[in-house]
């Protein structure tokens, strides 16, 4: 009898572990599909998993997704997934945006728990308007909970709600002590300054900086729906953010190589016909040299300070591509 009871208990434990591994595998599949469906928002009902904690980790360009203490996790070295470090929720909003630098490099997937709230502070009205509009949705389940506030005292810390403070001015959150309403709230904060992005975590009434090596640069060309900026808002901390950005830079290297090949074909096309297109393609500081520079820069971009130069090169490629388009030539992207 004891033998059978032991067998049943052991089998139950094995089945639970297998089930958790299956669930993680299914989640990974859903995330893959959601990730490639650019500019879409999907709601994933996880009420069956609400008693479990999902974790998202990323180190050395390798992401990890799993259920805490259950089954096996899944690693992913390709897709950038910006998410809180740990999530216990009844639903997830999966949102995908393309990372264009200047051409499309990869899709970023943002995982937003249904019980997360994002508070925006600062005077960047254009971004606040854009962010509020893009996160709002007609369907209540796809509506990301955001609110613009003028002071930290307006934050309502509620148990079970993940709080994220977004300081677009850079000095509004950490300039003073943690307000009493936020003490022991485990709130996280991200601040955007001219010098870069900083990530903080509230811990026993103190703001603890997560990026000890200095602010992280925002590697993007700006504009609306800036995938890199949104990534910082939805990332748990500096390590998670930079690790996922590294995945994008890794891909940039290969995508740029493909565009270099395309540039050669465009050049060959205009070799005989000549004209303004040929002049544009063979000018000094031309498309070919810029693509080569970007590829080299993406290859060597491992640490924040070595990546900033890519912005200038990507901007140059964008300008040259626009010139090709204005002159009715075959454009690069």
């Amino acid at each position: 009898m004891l033998f059978f009871a032991g067998l049943v208990i052991k089998q139950k434990a094995v089945s639970e572990q297998n089930l958790a591994t299956d669930v993680v595998s299914i989640l990974d599949s859903i995330f893959t599909s959601a990730g490639v469906s650019s500019q879409t928002k999907v709601f994933l009902d996880t009420s069956g998993l609400s008693s479990y904690t999902l974790f998202f980790n990323c180190q050395d360009r390798v992401g990890e997704l799993g259920i805490k203490g259950q089954g096996q996790s899944i690693q992913n070295a390709i897709d950038p997934i910006f998410a809180p470090a740990e999530v216990q929720t009844t639903g997830l909003i999966l949102w995908s945006l393309p990372y264009n630098f200047p051409y499309k490099v990869i899709d970023f997937l943002y995982i937003i728990p249904a019980n997360a709230k994002y508070y925006l502070l600062g005077a960047d009205n254009d971004f606040i308007r854009e962010f509020t509009n893009s996160t709002a949705d007609e369907s209540p389940r796809l509506n990301i909970n955001t609110e613009f506030i003028s002071s930290l005292n307006e934050v309502k810390a509620t148990s079970g709600i993940l709080l994220r403070l977004v300081d677009l001015q850079g000095n509004l959150i950490v300039s003073g002590p943690v307000p009493t309403n936020l003490i022991d709230s485990s709130a996280t904060a991200v601040t955007f300054t001219a010098g870069g992005i900083n990530f903080y975590q509230e811990n026993k009434g103190q703001w603890v900086l997560s990026n000890q090596d200095g602010p992280l640069p925002l590697i993007s060309l700006g504009g609306e729906r800036d995938a890199a900026k949104y990534g910082a808002i939805f990332s748990s901390d500096a390590d998670n953010y930079w690790c996922n950005m590294q995945k994008a830079f890794h891909r940039l290297q290969y995508v740029t190589e493909v565009y270099s090949g395309k540039e050669e074909e465009i050049n060959d096309f205009y070799t005989e016909s000549g004209g303004v297109c040929k002049v544009l393609l063979s000018s000094q500081d031309n498309l070919r040299s810029s693509l080569l520079t970007l590829q080299t820069q993406a290859q060597s971009c491992r640490y924040a300070y070595s990546c900033i130069d890519m912005i200038k090169t990507a901007t140059r490629i964008k300008t040259l591509d626009n010139q090709l388009w204005e002159s009715h030539c075959i454009r690069l992207y």
């Binding site: 650019s38 500019q39 264009n100 990869i106 290969y254 493909v258 395309k262 454009r331």
Partner: protein, 160 residues
């Protein structure tokens, strides 16, 4: 008395024998069930991998038809990029693209206006026992100042 004890002993041995026979049946049944569910699981995984790989291939930034800052054209492959991409995929197969497609072969077949094909990615498992092909129709854009569109399909064949 002695005979009675012998009879009881025989009875006990018979019960134990039947008990072990039942356990043996149970083990055989469980082993067969495990084997069939393992095969079924493998088939499910292969089908999942085929769908994942096809989805990824259709939206690869290395292949899609871009339109400047606008959204790329759906289910359209840029032939200029495609001709370079197969070389890039081959060059970085082990470093990078194997993590996306694993053991698979991705072929693009042009149906109209010409009949050409390109093997974009190929990593075949030597001792593969199963393969699952998936097909998806795509338009093929040849870049000229006024782009010319062809028609074809992409075949993603995964191995396990």
């Amino acid at each position: 008395m002695k005979r009675k004890a012998q009879a009881r002993m025989t009875e006990t041995i018979a019960v134990i024998f039947i008990f072990f026979i039942l356990i043996l049946f149970g083990l055989i049944f469980y082993a067969r069930y495990s084997q069939s569910s393992f095969v079924q699981k493998q088939e499910e995984l292969l089908a999942k991998e085929a769908i994942d790989s096809t989805t990824k291939a259709l939206f690869l930034p290395e292949l899609i038809c871009s339109k400047g800052e606008a959204e790329p054209e759906d289910h359209c492959l840029d032939l200029m990029k495609l001709r370079t991409a197969n070389e890039t995929f081959r060059k970085y197969l082990t470093d990078y693209y194997f993590n996306i497609f694993s053991y698979a072969r991705i072929t693009v077949q042009e149906v109209y206006p010409d009949d050409r094909s390109w093997i974009l990615y190929e990593r075949i498992k030597t001792n593969a026992t199963r393969e699952e092909p998936t097909y998806f129709s795509v338009s093929l854009r040849e870049e000229t100042p006024d782009p010319v569109y062809g028609f074809g399909y992409i075949e993603v064949r995964v191995f396990s």
